[in-house]
C-alpha cells in the first residue's frame, strides 16, 4: 500500500520536524536557565508523541528523538543550582503539563532524579510512577512510555547492595515494581491485537512482533536483579509472570514470553521450578507452538547437563525426566487438534534430552518410544511425510548415540514404532539400521538379537502386503539386497552352537524372500555356513557327548537345502559354484560320499541348466579345477567324475575351447602331492587328444577362411608337454617335444601370409625357457631351483619365500 507508506513517511517527517523545532527553543531555555520556558517547550515537543498515525517502527524513530532530548533535560533538572527549584517541587510542577502523555514523560524524568536525590524512598517514587502511567491506555504510546520508565529506573532499583536499598526499600519492592510494569505492558501489548478491523490481522501481528522486546525487557531486568535468588524466583517472580502469561490468553504473547522466560533465567532455576513452568503449558492457547517452547527448554537443560558432571544429580533429584514426560503427555492430551508431526517432534526432543542427560537409562528411552507408539496407534494411517521424517529421526537418535545396534535392539518399543511406518519409510529405516551396523563394525552375536534385528528389517527381506516389488527401482533394490548380504557377515559367534542358531534364523527369514532376493542372500548364507564348518573342524578334538548333535554332515545338509532354493530363481551358474565350494569343504572334512554328491549336483546343473556356451566354458574349468584338488575320492569315484569332466570338455561348442578344456583335464591325472595320482599315460592321451582337436581346428579354419587358425593352441600344448616332462612323466620324451616344436615351426611358416605375432612371441619365450632349463643342466625330474635364479639379478633385498618348497 504505497499510499500508506508515503503518508507515514510524511507524518514521521512532520513529527520529527516538530520535535526539532521545539527542542531548539527548549535548548535556548536550558541555556538561559529558564525553567518555565524549558517546561513549556519540552511539553510541546513531547506532544508529538501523542500521534496515533505511526506504525511501531516509525513511532520508535520519533520516540528516540524525544528520548535524546529528554536526556539533556534530565541533566538540567538534576542541577538545581541552575533552575533553583527543589526536586520535590519539580515533581509537583511537571504535573501541570496540559496533556497526559507529555506530563508523564516529564514526571518519569523528574522521578529519576528524585530517586537519585534520595529525598524519598525509591519504592514510593517507583510505585507512584508505575501507577500514574496507567493514564495512557493507547497500546503503542503506553508501551513506549512504560519502556521509558523501565529504562530510566533500571539503575535505581532497590536491589541488594544497591545504594537505594534501605529499611523501607527492599528487593521485593524492586521486584514488585518491575512485575507491575511488565503486567501493564503485556496488557497493552495484547490489546493491540483487538484494535482495528479484522482484515488487517496479519499486519497487526507483524507490528506486535516489532514491539515484543519492549515487553520482554522487563523479564530481562528481573533476571539481572541480584536479590532475585532461587527462592524469590520460585515463590514470587515465576508464579506472577506465569499468571499474566496464562491469563492474557493471547497466543503471540504466550509463545514469546514462555520462550523469553526460558532464555533469560538461569538453567538451575528452571530445573528447580520445572513443575511450575511445565504446569503452565497445558493452560496455554491451543494455537501456541508449545512444542517449540518445550524443545528449547529441553535443549537448554541438555546443554546444562553436559556442561559439568556435578549438575547431573540435580536432574535426578528433581526427577526432570518424568516431569518433562508427564508435561508432554498433558500437552498432547490437552491439544486434541495437534497434528501428528507436532506430537512426534515433542517426543524427538524428549528423546534427545534423555540421550544427552541420562544415556544409561535405557528404560527412559524405551518409555519415550512407548509413548510415541501409543500416540501413533491412535492415528489410523500416518501419511504426513514430515511426521514420517520425525519418526525416522526418533529411531535414528538411539543408533547414533549408542553406536552399538545391540543396545537399540534391547528397546522393546523400537520395533513397535517401526511397525507404524509406511512401507517406504520402514525400508528406509531398515537401511539406516544396517548402515549404522556397517559403519560401527558392530557384531551381533546372539541368536535372539539376530531374531530381533531381522524383525526390524523385515521390510527388506520379504514382500510385505501392499508392496509391489516391480515398482521399485532396480538400482535401489540391488543396493538394498546387497546391504542385507553384507549384513549377514556381521552376525557371528565363536561358539559353533550359537553360530548355527544364528544361521538357522537368517535362513528362516531369507528363504521367504522370493526369487528376486535369493540370489543376493544365498551366497552370504552359504559362506557363513562354510566358515562355521571350519570353526567346527577347529574344535574337533574337544567335542563331548551332547555337542555331537552338530556334525559336519548336519551342516552339509543345511548347505544343500540352502543352495537348492536357488532353483526357484533359477540361478544354475551360482548354484554350481556353490556346490563346488561345498565339495571342497567336504574334501577338507574327509567325507567322500558328501563330496561326491555335491559333484553330482554340479554336473546335473551343467548338463541340464547351463546352455550358454561361454558359461559352459567357465563352468567346466571350475569343475576341472575343483576336481583336480580333490584327494578324498577313491579310484572308482574319481574315475567316474574324471570321465564325465573330460567328456564334457570335448563336447564344448568351439574347438578352441574344447582343446583348452581337454588339456586342462590332463592335470586330473597328475597331482603333485606325495600320494597324488601320477598316471603318465593318461596324461599323454589327454594331450594327444588336445592336439587332434587343435589340428581339426586348424583344418576347419583353412577351409572356412582360407587361412590358418589359432596356432597358439599348439604352443599351449607344447608348454604342457614341457610341464609334464619336467615333472618326470616318462611317457613324454624329449624327442616328442622336439617333434612338436618342428611341427609348430612348419605351421607358422606355411601361414606366412597371416603372421600371428602373439603366437610367435609365445613360441619364442617358450623356446627361451627350454634353452634356459638346458643351460642349468640335468633338467630331468628337477624343479627349477628358484634360489639359483637370484644370483642372476641384482638389488634383491628380500625374497618372500615361505610359499616355495626349497
Amino acid at each position: 500500500m504505497l499510499n500508506g507508506t508515503e503518508d507515514e513517511e510524511k507524518w514521521l517527517a512532520e513529527g520529527i520536524a516538530g520535535i526539532q523545532h521545539n527542542a531548539f527553543y527548549m535548548h535556548r531555555a536550558l541555556d538561559s536557565n529558564n525553567l518555565r520556558e524549558a517546561l513549556k517547550y519540552s511539553a510541546q515537543m513531547l506532544s508529538e508523541l501523542r500521534t496515533s498515525k505511526l506504525s511501531p517502527r516509525k513511532y520508535y524513530e520519533l520516540y528516540m528523538r524525544a528520548f535524546d532530548e529528554l536526556k539533556r533535560l534530565e541533566l538540567f533538572f538534576k542541577d538545581d543550582s541552575k533552575h533553583g527549584v527543589s526536586v520535590v517541587d519539580l515533581y509537583e510542577l511537571v504535573q501541570h503539563a496540559g496533556n497526559i502523555l507529555p506530563r508523564l514523560y516529564l514526571l518519569c524524568t523528574v522521578g529519576s532524579i528524585y530517586i537519585k536525590s534520595k529525598e524519598a524512598p525509591a519504592k514510593e517514587v517507583l510505585k507512584d510512577l508505575v501507577e500514574m502511567c496507567r493514564g495512557v491506555q493507547h497500546p503503542i504510546r503506553g508501551l513506549f512510555l512504560r519502556s521509558y520508565l523501565a529504562q530510566i529506573s533500571r539503575d535505581k532499583l532497590p536491589d541488594i547492595g544497591s545504594e537505594y536499598e534501605g529499611d523501607a526499600d527492599t528487593v521485593m519492592d524492586a521486584v514488585d515494581f518491575v512485575l507491575q510494569n511488565f503486567t501493564e505492558m503485556n496488557k497493552l501489548w495484547v490489546r493491540m491485537q483487538h484494535q482495528g478491523p479484522g482484515r488487517v490481522r496479519e499486519k497487526r501481528e507483524k507490528e506486535r512482533s516489532e514491539l515484543q522486546d519492549l515487553v520482554g525487557k522487563n523479564l530481562h531486568v528481573l533476571s539481572q536483579i541480584e536479590g532475585v535468588d532461587l527462592e524469590m524466583y520460585k515463590e514470587t517472580v515465576l508464579p506472577r509472570v506465569l499468571e499474566q502469561v496464562v491469563n492474557c490468553k493471547d497466543d503471540l504473547a504466550q509463545y514469546y514470553l514462555m520462550d523469553c522466560i526460558i532464555q533469560v533465567f538461569p538453567d538451575e532455576y528452571h530445573l528447580q521450578t520445572l513443575e511450575t513452568l511445565l504446569g503452565a503449558c497445558p493452560q496455554l492457547q491451543p494455537t501456541v507452538d508449545v512444542k517449540t517452547v518445550l524443545s528449547r527448554l529441553m535443549d537448554r537443560l541438555s546443554n546444562y547437563a553436559t556442561s559439568s558432571a556435578d549438575v547431573l544429580p540435580e536432574f535426578l533429584q528433581v526427577e526432570a525426566f518424568s516431569k518433562l514426560s508427564n508435561a508432554i503427555g498433558k500437552v498432547i492430551e490437552a491439544q486434541v487438534d495437534m497434528p501428528a508431526v507436532g506430537a512426534i517432534t515433542l517426543y524427538v526432543s524428549l528423546l534427545t534430552f534423555t540421550l544427552r542427560v541420562h544415556p544409561d537409562r535405557l528404560d527412559h528411552v524405551d518409555q519415550v518410544l512407548g509413548a510415541c507408539v501409543k500416540k501413533l496407534s491412535n492415528i489410523p494411517k500416518l501419511e504426513d511425510s514430515r511426521a514420517m521424517k520425525q519418526v525416522v529421526a526418533l529411531l535414528s537418535a538411539p543408533l547414533e548415540k549408542y553406536n552399538d545396534i545391540v543396545t537399540a535392539l534391547t528397546l522393546s518399543n523400537y520395533p513397535r514404532v517401526m511397525d507404524h511406518l509406511d512401507i517406504g519409510t520402514n525400508k528406509l529405516m531398515a537401511m539406516v539400521i544396517i548402515q549404522s551396523i556397517m559403519k560401527n563394525n558392530s557384531c551381533i552375536s546372539t541368536a535372539d538379537k539376530v531374531e530381533v534385528l531381522f524383525e526390524l528389517i523385515k521390510g527388506l527381506i520379504k514382500d510385505t502386503d501392499g508392496a509391489d516389488v516391480d515398482e521399485l527401482d532396480e538400482e535401489d533394490f540391488k543396493e538394498e539386497q546387497n546391504s542385507v548380504a553384507r549384513l549377514i557377515h556381521m552376525l557371528y559367534n565363536d561358539e559353533p552352537e550359537e553360530m548355527l542358531k544364528i544361521i538357522c534364523i537368517v535362513r528362516k527369514h531369507t528363504m521367504v524372500g522370493g526369487p528376486k532376493r535369493l540370489p543376493f542372500t544365498v551366497s552370504s548364507l552359504v559362506f557363513s555356513a562354510l566358515r562355521l564348518l571350519r570353526q567346527l573342524q577347529g574344535q574337533e578334538g574337544d567335542i563331548v557327548g551332547e555337542e555331537a548333535s552338530m556334525t559336519p554332515n548336519k551342516i552339509f545338509q543345511l548347505l544343500t537345502q540352502i543352495i537348492e532354493s536357488l532353483s526357484a530363481v533359477p540361478s544354475p551358474e551360482l548354484a554350481l559354484r556353490l556346490y563346488l565350494q561345498c565339495a571342497e569343504a567336504a574334501n577338507g572334512c574327509d567325507i567322500e560320499h558328501v563330496a561326491y554328491e555335491f559333484f553330482t549336483q554340479a554336473f546335473v546343473l551343467y548338463e541340464e541348466e547351463i546352455a550358454d556356451s561361454k558359461a559352459q566354458v567357465t563352468a567346466i574349468h571350475l569343475i576341472i579345477g575343483t576336481l583336480q584338488r580333490m584327494n578324498v575320492f577313491g579310484v572308482e569315484n574319481r574315475d567316474t567324475l574324471t570321465h564325465k569332466a573330460t567328456g564334457y570338455s570335448a563336447r564344448l561348442l568351439k574347438k578352441a575351447d574344447q582343446c583348452r578344456a581337454v588339456y586342462a583335464c590332463s592335470h586330473l591325472f597328475w597331482v603333485d602331492d606325495q600320494d597324488g595320482i601320477k598316471d603318465g599315460e593318461r596324461v599323454l592321451l589327454c594331450l594327444k587328444r588336445a592336439l587332434r582337436i587343435a589340428n581339426a581346428a586348424q583344418q576347419m579354419a583353412n577351409v572356412a577362411r582360407g587361412s590358418g587358425g589359432p596356432v597358439s593352441l599348439f604352443v599351449e600344448i607344447l608348454n604342457k608337454y614341457i610341464y609334464f616332462f619336467e615333472k618326470g612323466n616318462k611317457q613324454i620324451t624329449s624327442s616328442a617335444i622336439q617333434g612338436l616344436i618342428e611341427f609348430i615351426n612348419t605351421e607358422m611358416q606355411s601361414d606366412s601370409t597371416n603372421p600371428d605375432s602373439v603366437a610367435d612371441a609365445f613360441l619364442a619365450s617358450t623356446l627361451r625357457y627350454i634353452q634356459f632349463q638346458k643351460q642349468k643342466g640335468g633338467v630331468v625330474g628337477n624343479r627349477p631351483n628358484i634360489i639359483f635364479f637370484l644370483f642372476f639379478f641384482s638389488n634383491l633385498n628380500k625374497v618372500y619365500n615361505c610359499t616355495l618348497n626349497l
Binding site: 557377515h489 628358484i786 638389488n795
Partner: protein, 198 residues
C-alpha cells in the same frame, strides 16, 4: 615413479562385508596412477569405489563377478622406450580360475609367456605370493578383505603396491595381521631381454 595398486578377490558382499577400515584409510585418491584388479569384486559399488581412487582401472573377470563384461585377461604397458635401453614394464592380469592347476607356478608361468609380459598379476587363491622365475615375476595380491577361500584356512587381508621406476620395480605388500597393518618389501630388476621376434 609410477605407483600401481594390485588388489582383488574382495568377494563383497558374498564373503565379506567391506574392506578393512585400516585399508580404506590408507587408500586415498590421487596417489595411485594405475589400479590392477584381479577380479571377484563382486558388485558395481566396489568398481565405483576403485574408480574414485584412480580413473585408470584395469579389471579382469573373476568367476563371481556381477559384471560379465570384464575381459578374461588384460595387458598394459608402463613406462617408455628409451634409446638404448628398454625402459618398459609390461603387466598382465588374469584372475586365475582359468589356469589349472589353480595356483600352480609353472602353469602361471605359461600364461606369462603367452601374454608376453614381465609381470603377471593373478588371484583366485587369496594367498599373497610374489616370485620370480626365468621369464618374469608373478604376483598374487591375495584377498583385500581376507575372504573365505577353499585354498587356505588362514586368510589375512592383503594388497600390493608396486613402485615402477625404469627397469626396477619395488613390490610392497600390505597385510592385516591381528588388527595391525604389516608392510613388506621386495625388489625386482628387469634385465635387458633379447629383442622379441619382431
Amino acid at each position: 615413479m609410477v605407483l600401481v595398486l594390485a588388489i582383488g578377490d574382495l568377494h563383497i558382499p558374498h564373503r565379506a562385508p567391506d574392506l578393512p577400515p585400516k585399508f580404506k584409510s590408507m587408500l586415498v585418491p590421487g596417489k595411485i596412477q594405475h589400479i590392477i584388479c584381479t577380479g571377484n569384486l563382486c558388485i558395481k559399488e566396489v568398481h565405483d569405489y576403485f574408480k574414485t581412487l584412480c580413473p585408470d582401472l584395469h579389471i579382469t573377470r573373476g568367476e563371481y563377478d556381477e559384471d560379465s563384461r570384464y575381459p578374461e585377461n588384460k595387458t598394459l604397458t608402463i613406462g617408455q622406450f628409451k634409446l638404448g635401453t628398454i625402459g618398459q614394464f609390461k603387466l598382465g592380469i588374469c584372475h586365475g580360475h582359468q589356469v589349472i592347476p589353480w595356483g600352480d607356478l609353472d602353469s602361471l608361468a605359461m600364461v606369462q609367456r603367452q601374454l608376453d609380459v614381465d609381470i603377471l598379476v593373478t588371484g583366485h587363491t587369496h594367498q599373497f605370493k610374489a616370485y620370480k622365475h626365468e621369464g618374469g615375476v608373478v604376483i598374487n595380491p591375495g584377498s583385500a578383505t581376507g575372504a573365505y577361500s577353499s585354498f587356505t584356512y588362514d586368510v589375512n587381508p592383503s594388497f600390493v603396491l608396486m613402485d615402477i621406476d625404469g627397469l626396477r620395480v619395488v613390490v610392497y605388500v600390505y597385510e592385516l595381521i591381528d588388527g595391525e597393518v604389516k608392510v613388506d618389501k621386495i625388489d625386482f630388476k628387469k634385465t635387458a631381454t633379447a629383442p622379441s621376434a619382431h
